[in-house]
Symmetry: C2
Subunit: 384 residues, 2 copies
């Protein structure tokens, strides 16, 4: 397989874009990515989206968006794995370029939540769970995350305060990210006093859904592009799965797909977890961040809150995470989230992260998770 | 890119499977494909499905089905491009094996229409069109196909009877296909007397939606498998797109995506249209079969009904199409249709088509189309 570089990135702010359609958001992110890459044409488009069918009555996004961005006729596809759709689209774009099937590819994540609110949106979101064994019985993502969090606290004797640092870090980093949904920082004590959503999951544990689009341009290594920024090499790309239904897992507190996917990625890149300088993880719920750190080898089982408690996850810490706010405070843009993670990693590796810059980033890792761990997609990026 | 072979095939009957869930259908087709290939494990799963989110409240099928077929943990993805989802999934499985990313892959198409009927199903199906410019204005696939057919008849002075042969051929071939939805043949005159759906599209012009699943097992060429049947080489795999909205096309009677996709496939395979021995085309409506024949170089513009009128599309004709009944009579299983086409081509190339066997098939082509031509996926198979 050929080496593949990221040669352009683009994103829209995450938030409630009442005046922008799905296509508007897509065009804005793609325009920015093309400008950044210094190109205006690619061989193929891969779109990550989770719910446009349910929320906008619009499937078939590959054809729709390739036309709307001025590339009518090119190869196009939509990938879906709930909120891991963006990472999955990147995986497919990567393989397409690595294989030699195409020379360049555009990978876009886009999601439009606004316009559908309340129970209708909740019903749509539940489609990422197991419909027969979870959805029809009234389970939601938040309810299941609450069960996982309570079980974790019980099993390992961890107190609620131990989780606070994840939310505080996310909000602190989002404050200086112009594309973030939230810019407020959390006062001391705010986490413990936050309104409950599904106890023990509170408002500051659950990532907000926001509209958004993010895109990257891929090119075979060695292919000349007129970007002002250095290309970044995709050193690893790996997908793994687990049961959709949490109840079917032998150990619900072990994210097997995250573990498998990260393990395959480390092997491909020839690195160990300790080589990772920045980790953009899938903090859809605080408990998911904790379990991801454990599954990916950054903390022992039962000790996943320690990096936060000990201040290691900040921009100046040993393992910075959610460096632009993560899902919690940059906002969770559904099928676009996996691309936001990679765009943010790219900014870190390029040294273009501004006030969010982590010092001397050589290796970055992004992990995009679908639902409560049914799919996990891991990418490792390096300076080319 | 490495050469990729199809080493196993499986399918369920197409129809109203009231007693079978989406997962049941998937397991049945996969079980048959594994048995046929003589293997029980693959490195990756690619699922083509168009509407499980809307119809079954179930997205995230990659993870769900890899667990249900006993392969928990493997890489898995769902591809979607309306009713070209199955062909698209095969394209992605092909690239994954060709690239060297995986050694073997399972490609599954599955769709479950039953349980949702009437307007709710119609609303879901419309998501494959352009939601802003077609769907919200009340356009449906059938209504748009009727406009295309009427325009075609007007433009080229073609009478209704010229279309009859497509439906008669499809029903004749389905009669001896145990997996077909319909086994009735059409009496002379039946086509012209059929009840109108949206004039001039009648009941015998429009393919019926049916539940079903079909699967193929892919392996890198040269990899030993214990199948009793010979491997088939994927000689070409190509995707192209067009506007979703028919009104945006400079010439609505020209299927640009079908033309581009077939052209790329001929180039990859190093063949001309005249080298194709069997063509499984996307006859979702008779007019779509006519336009596909023209777009793919089998008939001149305006002469796409001639192969049917002159008896060339039958099993003993110059260009057999819909050899197991096509979408019209085998049934249109949504995102599974692209895989049914390929499974049927494989039976023809292996010489295992029984009473539907075309003589001396060396090269077969399948084209799976999304909506009214927004996406077209073309595969060419040869004896390995």
């Amino acid at each position: 397989m050929r080496e593949v570089n990221i040669v352009g990135i683009g994103q829209t702010p995450v938030g409630e874009h009442w005046g922008h359609s799905l296509s508007d958001l897509a065009r804005e992110a793609v325009g920015a990515a093309f400008l950044d890459a210094g190109i205006s044409r690619v061989d193929a488009l891969f779109v990550g989206n989770m719910l446009a069918g349910e929320l906008s009555h619009q499937e078939h996004l590959g054809a729709l968006i390739s036309d709307q961005i001025g590339l009518r006729g090119i190869e196009a596809a939509r990938a879906e794995a709930s909120d891991a759709s963006g990472g999955l689209a990147l995986r497919q774009g990567y393989i397409a370029v690595a294989s030699g099937a195409v020379e360049t590819a555009l990978v876009l994540g886009v999601e439009k939540f606004t316009d559908v609110v309340g129970n209708a949106r909740l019903a749509a979101l539940v489609a990422g769970l197991d419909a027969e064994y979870e959805g029809t019985h009234g389970a939601t993502l938040t309810a299941l995350a609450a069960l996982l969090m309570r079980r974790y606290m019980h099993e390992y004797g961890v107190e609620l305060e131990a989780f606070a640092g994840f939310s505080e870090n996310a909000h602190a980093n989002a404050a200086s990210n112009p594309n973030a949904m939230f810019h407020n920082t959390l006062r001391p004590g705010a986490f413990a006093a936050a309104p409950a959503v599904a106890p023990p999951v509170s408002l500051f544990d659950a990532a907000p859904e926001g509209d958004g689009a993010a895109a990257v341009v891929l090119a075979a290594a060695g292919r000349a592009v007129e970007s002002a920024s250095p290309p970044l090499r995709i050193a690893a790309s790996a997908v793994a799965t687990d049961t959709l239904a949490v109840q079917d897992r032998p150990d619900p507190l072990f994210l097997a797909a995250a573990n498998l996917s990260a393990g395959r990625a480390y092997e491909q890149a020839g690195i160990a977890p300790s080589d990772v300088d920045v980790f953009e993880l899938h903090d859809s719920y605080t408990i998911m961040a904790v379990l991801a750190l454990e599954a990916c080898g950054f903390a022992r089982r039962g000790e996943g809150t320690r990096p936060a408690v000990e201040g290691e996850i900040g921009l100046a810490g040993q393992l910075p995470i959610a460096t632009f706010g993560g899902l919690k405070a940059r906002g969770h843009a559904g099928g676009a989230t996996g691309l936001y993670q990679v765009v943010e990693l790219a900014l870190q590796l390029r040294g273009e992260a501004g006030r969010n810059q982590v010092e001397d980033v050589r290796i970055g890792m992004a992990q995009n998770v679908g639902g409560l761990g049914g799919t996990a997609v891991t990418h490792i990026l390096e300076r080319a």
